[in-house]
Amino acid sequence: MSVEKGHLDSFKHKCCEDLYQKLYILVFPCTLTVFVIYVPQNEDTEQQIIRETFHLVSKRDENVCNFLEGGMLIGGSENRLIYRHYATLYFVFCVDSSESELGILDLIQVFVETLDKCFENVCELDLIFHVDKVHNILAEMVMGGMVLETNMNEIIIQVDAQNKMEKSEAGIAGAPARAVSAVKNMNLPEMPRNINIGDISIKVPNLPSFK
């Protein structure tokens, strides 16, 4: 895993331990993994899964299929990795045979479009600094490894409602927030490209699958 500074690759979120539902979600840029796992694993196995999955996914060419048989780590041939590649980010879901493969691809698209709406042209850094928000959004879609809602507008309504509540509770805490964005932008060597989502934003030339 090519990690910029050797840290943050273990940026993961262990959400629950579900013996049955095999679904996990990884979002990989080079430096970040938002990792939600709904199967019981110990720490080491999780790290290994991340590494192996990243290895499997990142070396694949464009234009090959978006499904691949999982290794033994994710439960053998019963389970599949279904991934989508957006500029610097990989979104990987692992599902068992009871899910429709193309359906999951759509679900990833919905997730990314939702992130994009919620963060206004989402970029990697949004996901790093707002990991709790990312999880909140994901939690509106997937709960305990099961799909809760697939309608983007519905999800955004929920997220909006949460934000309103947050705002009303935060009161005058708005000022420091602006300082934070300044700090955030200042500290970073470069600002990564925005994620390109097929039909919403700027075209990035190396994305043939989303013409």
């Binding site: 629950c16 359906g103 759509d106 963060f119 697939t150």
Partner: protein
């Protein structure tokens, strides 16, 4: 307005994250984290009470640190405190922390459960959702115990908000999956089914996951969902792309929900109600038609969603397997996808077609795509797709195209990816065997396989080719000639040497007439490979040499010379040395007659399930080779029809359930005999006693070259009970229902009930094959003195059992007096002409006639003392062979039939039970005490009863259970 306002929230946290990101090394990062941890710890311990905001901030920091991969051992209490906050943000962080970090720490769980309970009853939908999410994410048993009753109520209550209903449905699903015993079906179940009609599509989406899971476990209770699902599906399918508004995804109405509905329908057989079925068929046709319409959008998302539904519809059509018209249309549709430019579609089409190939209606239609599939195997850039193509070729193979497919797979093997080679080898081997009409083709194929991919040819594969060559005399000459030629290659794989050694050792004489393959030439050829081989192969070659001495006396001197050489007779490997010494002696002492007897040609192997198939199944899981088992009849070609392998052999092998690892010679389990070389004096005796025709397990030879045990001939007499029948009996001591016996042909299930001294047992005989069993006959007998102890009556069963059918037999049992042995059940039938003869012990044991007796402690001890004569007591001390889980122990003791008495034994770890055994002649009171010692993993079991034989028998039976 962006939904998430960036930068809101906690400044300290953002600064901390920035700091971490700016750390130049791992050490610096750890230092920064430790500093932060110390800071948080002091804040939490400090005297000043923290306000909600700070608590939230610190808990959030802890969470972040944990996510970086560091251990967190404090802060749980603060997180739990946040749960009871009235502020959304605080509560939410608290729940997040709990979901991520809390394991089943019992004290905290109680507090958490309390907070969840408050939130669930708060009537604030946001709080309720947070609580439900937490339950779904943690999903522990404690939570299930606390909330499994509450959640169904929330789910079906009329006034619950939609978003809460959604969460409740999934939460319940999660609890059901984790602890199915705690989620009790009730009157809510029927109301859950009606959620399929809910106005809110999100509720339907969540509910359908729940219903699919519940109905796959209890199909009968949820039957009504079929018609509801069909009408919902038909409404979606026939709606215009604008009807469903938000749930329309790139012009496709509710794709996710449609897929889920089609999945749900796959839990059930086709609807019986004509109207419902008509409506469903209409839906499926519409979906197939839509695939042909021009796309409404060029975006990949549009076609993705459309095809997701299409593939699910095709799966449903394949699942029903009853509409030839739809099946063929499905097949044509998949055929189009096979050439689609989207790799994903080609992948899925190949995969779906694999299942389609096994349907009799569409098998032919699938076959028409053979060229495309072969092309995919050759040209696809993606290994996952190539793998699917190989799977499909395997599935569509039948007699008409076997040669083509096997040839293509063989040529693909030369360049195949390493990851799939072994599986490919197995598949080629199986196809070659299954569809071999002409055995020379089979032999060629396998030898080619060894040549091309020798490293991936497992033992099973080369064992199998030898089994077949030995059982078919028409191919032996050809096999000998071909291996001889193959061995002439300058470099050949060790597996080739093994096959060559074995086959020439047996059948070298068939080609010895040709001067180019005279005995000596054969021997020299084999021996030229000897030094390059591993020890097991060398051992096999030595056996081949001794066989040569028998086949070709003229080679004797040369071979003896080789055996005598220091490198053999003083070989450092015990096995090789022993063989060299023994073979040398054997060849010089024994007369030609004796040699001819000892070294006789191998008898045909008993037929059994192909070991290769077993291996592939193990590799791929049961689903992958189901095609194979369905047409078991086709395998008769090789397995049943062999004129020498004959019926007797089949019967013999089936009567003693063959082990799946069935190796070639059935002898590999024998350990090498006596580590030291036997002294010369007793040598001959040793050789004869171990390798004589009567010895079934020739100890000397790992590869069993010398053993020539004739196959046991099946007779019409009931076979002796299977060796495992005692074990099977033990399985049923504490339970009354289950599968008694199962082999490749037959499954026997049992249901039984007992009252007083009477019992009734239902036996279910299932024919697992597709061929009928004829002369099916079962008898129950009571051997020896059991005749006077048990009265057993049966009705005869129909002599014909159709393929896939099940017949039932009722057995009435009366217990006259206490007994020890079990009645014998003998089953005889003919399968493909071969007589099957199986004997088992019927699981009727004395404890089945227990009547539980409740009594108080004082009573118990009084009776215990009354039964104090030494012969009235039986006691055993034994090691635990299973876990010592309390619940399991209790279940077993209850299953025994006695009453489990609480609060009787002063030591709460111990179990005491009481019961009365009811027989016609008398009643036998019985008291039991089981003392587990968890530390030593031992039990002491004491039985006291008014009859010594009963104490002993019950004690013996029960001791096997723990």
């Amino acid at each position: 307005m962006p939904a998430v306002s960036k930068g809101d929230g906690m400044r300290g946290l953002a600064v901390f994250i920035s700091d971490i990101r700016n750390c130049k090394s791992k050490e610096a990062e750890i230092k920064r984290i430790n500093k932060e941890l110390a800071n948080i710890r002091s804040k939490f311990k400090g005297d000043k009470a923290l306000d909600g905001y700070s608590k939230k901030k610190y808990v959030c920091k802890l969470l972040f640190i944990f996510l970086l991969g560091h251990d967190i051992d404090f802060g749980h209490m603060e997180a739990v405190n946040l749960l009871s906050s009235n502020k959304y943000t605080e509560k939410q962080i608290g729940y997040l922390f709990i979901s991520v970090l809390v394991n089943s720490n019992s004290e905290l769980i109680r507090l958490i459960n309390n907070a969840i309970k408050n939130d669930l009853s708060s009537r604030n939908p946001t709080f309720m959702c947070l609580a439900l999410h937490c339950i779904a994410n943690v999903g522990s048993r404690e939570m299930a115990e606390a909330f499994a009753g509450e959640i169904p109520r929330i789910l079906v209550a009329g006034d619950t908000m939609d978003s809460v209903k959604q969460s409740a449905a999934l939460c319940l699903l999660r609890l059901y999956k984790a602890s199915p015993d705690l989620v009790l079906m009730g009157e809510w179940t029927s109301r859950v089914v009606h959620l399929l009609n809910d106005q809110h599509m999100g509720v339907v989406t969540a509910a359908i996951s729940l219903i699919t899971c519940l109905s796959s476990k209890n199909p009968d209770e949820f039957k009504t969902c079929v018609s509801l699902a069909v009408s919902r599906l038909s409404r979606i399918v026939s709606s215009a792309s604008t009807d469903l508004q938000d749930y329309t995804y790139y012009f496709v109405p509710a794709p996710w929900l449609s897929c889920k509905l089609l999945r749900l329908l796959q839990c059930y057989p086709p609807p019986e109600d004509g109207a419902v079925k008509g409506r469903l068929v209409e839906c499926l046709e519409t979906i197939l038609n839509k695939a042909q319409e021009p796309p409404k959008s060029k975006k990949v998302q549009h076609s993705n969603a459309k095809n997701a539904i299409l593939f699910e519809a095709i799966s449903l059509i394949i699942h029903y397997d009853s509409e030839p018209n739809l099946l063929v249309r499905a097949c044509n549709q998949l055929g189009q996808f096979l050439q689609h430019r989207e790799t994903n579609l080609r992948y899925l089409a190949l995969e779906s077609m694999c299942t389609l190939a096994s349907s009799e209606f569409s098998h032919e239609a699938v076959k028409t795509h053979i060229e495309t599939v072969i092309n995919a195997l050759k040209t696809e850039r993606d290994v996952s797709v190539r793998q699917r193509a190989a799977d499909l070729l395997y599935a569509m193979c039948d007699r008409s195209n076997a040669k083509q497919i096997v040839a293509e797979m063989l040529s693909y093997l030369e360049t195949a990816d390493y990851s799939i080679r072994e599986e490919m080898v197995l598949k080629v081997a199986i196809l070659a065997e299954k569809y071999a009409v002409d055995y020379s083709w089979y032999v060629d194929t396998i030898l080619n396989l060894i040549r091309i991919a020798g490293d991936y040819v497992s033992e099973e594969v080369w064992y199998r080719v030898i089994q077949i060559v030995i059982n078919r005399d028409d191919v032996q000459g050809y096999a000998a000639k071909t291996v001889f030629e193959a061995l002439q290659a300058p470099a050949c794989h060790e597996n080739m040497v093994k096959v060559g050694g074995y086959i020439l050792g047996e059948f070298g004489n068939l080609i010895a007439g040709d001067p180019r393959s005279s005995p000596l030439v054969q021997f020299n050829l084999l021996h030229s490979k000897f030094h390059l081989c591993s020890v097991p192969t060398r051992a096999l070659l030595l056996s081949a040499y001794i066989k040569f001495i028998n086949l070709f006396p003229e080679t004797k001197a040369t071979i003896q010379e080789v055996l005598r050489s220091d490198s053999q007779i003083r070989n450092s490997d015990v096995e090789l040395q022993q063989r060299a010494v023994e073979y040398l002696k054997l060849s010089s002492i024994a007369s030609t007659d004796v040699l001819a007897t000892v070294l006789e040609e191998m008898p045909p192997f008993p037929e059994r399930e192909s070991s290769i198939l077993a291996k592939l199944k193990k590799k791929k899981g049961p689903g992958a080779v189901s095609v194979e088992l369905e047409d078991g009849k086709e395998r008769g070609e090789l397995n049943g029809g062999g004129d020498r392998g004959g019926d007797a052999a089949i019967a013999a092998s089936n009567a003693s359930t063959p082990s799946p690892s069935a190796d070639l010679l059935g002898l590999r389990s024998t350990a090498p005999v006596s580590g030291t070389t036997p002294s010369a004096g007793s040598l001959l005796v040793d050789v004869f006693s171990e390798a004589g025709p009567s010895a079934t397990s020739a100890g000397v030879n790992d590869d069993g070259f010398l053993s020539s045990a004739p196959p046991t001939v099946a007779s019409e007499d009931p076979a002796p009970p299977l060796p495992e029948s005692d074990e099977l009996l033990n399985k049923f001591v504490c339970k009354n229902n289950g599968v008694l016996f199962e082999n490749q042909l037959l499954q026997i299930g049992i249901k039984s009930e007992y009252r007083q001294n009477l019992g009734r047992m239902y036996l279910f005989y299932g024919n697992k094959t597709s061929v009928q069993f004829v002369s099916f006959n079962t008898t129950v007998s009571c051997p020896g003195e059991l005749q006077s102890q048990l009265n057993v009556q049966t009705k005869t069963v129909e002599p014909l059992v159709e393929g896939g059918a099940q017949v039932q037999q009722v057995i009435n049992i009366e217990c006259l007096t206490d007994f020890i042995d079990a009645p014998l059940l003998n089953i005889k039938f003919r399968y493909g002409g071969a007589l099957q003869n199986i004997s088992l012990k019927l699981p009727v044991t004395i404890n089945k006639f227990f009547q539980p007796t409740e009594m108080a402690a004082a009573d118990f001890f009084q009776r215990w003392k009354q039964l104090s004569q030494p012969q009235q007591e039986a006691q055993k001390i034994f090691k635990a062979s299973h876990g010592m889980d309390t619940e399991v122990l209790k279940a077993k003791l209850l299953g025994l039939g006695t009453a489990l008495l609480e609060n009787v034994d002063p030591n709460p770890e111990n179990y005491v039970c009481a019961g009365v055994i009811q027989t016609k002649a008398q009643q036998v009171g019985c008291l039991l005490r089981l003392e587990p010692n968890a530390q030593a993993q031992m039990y002491r079991l004491t039985l006291r009863s008014s009859k010594d034989t009963v104490s002993q028998r019950v004690c013996d039976l029960l001791a096997e259970q723990f």
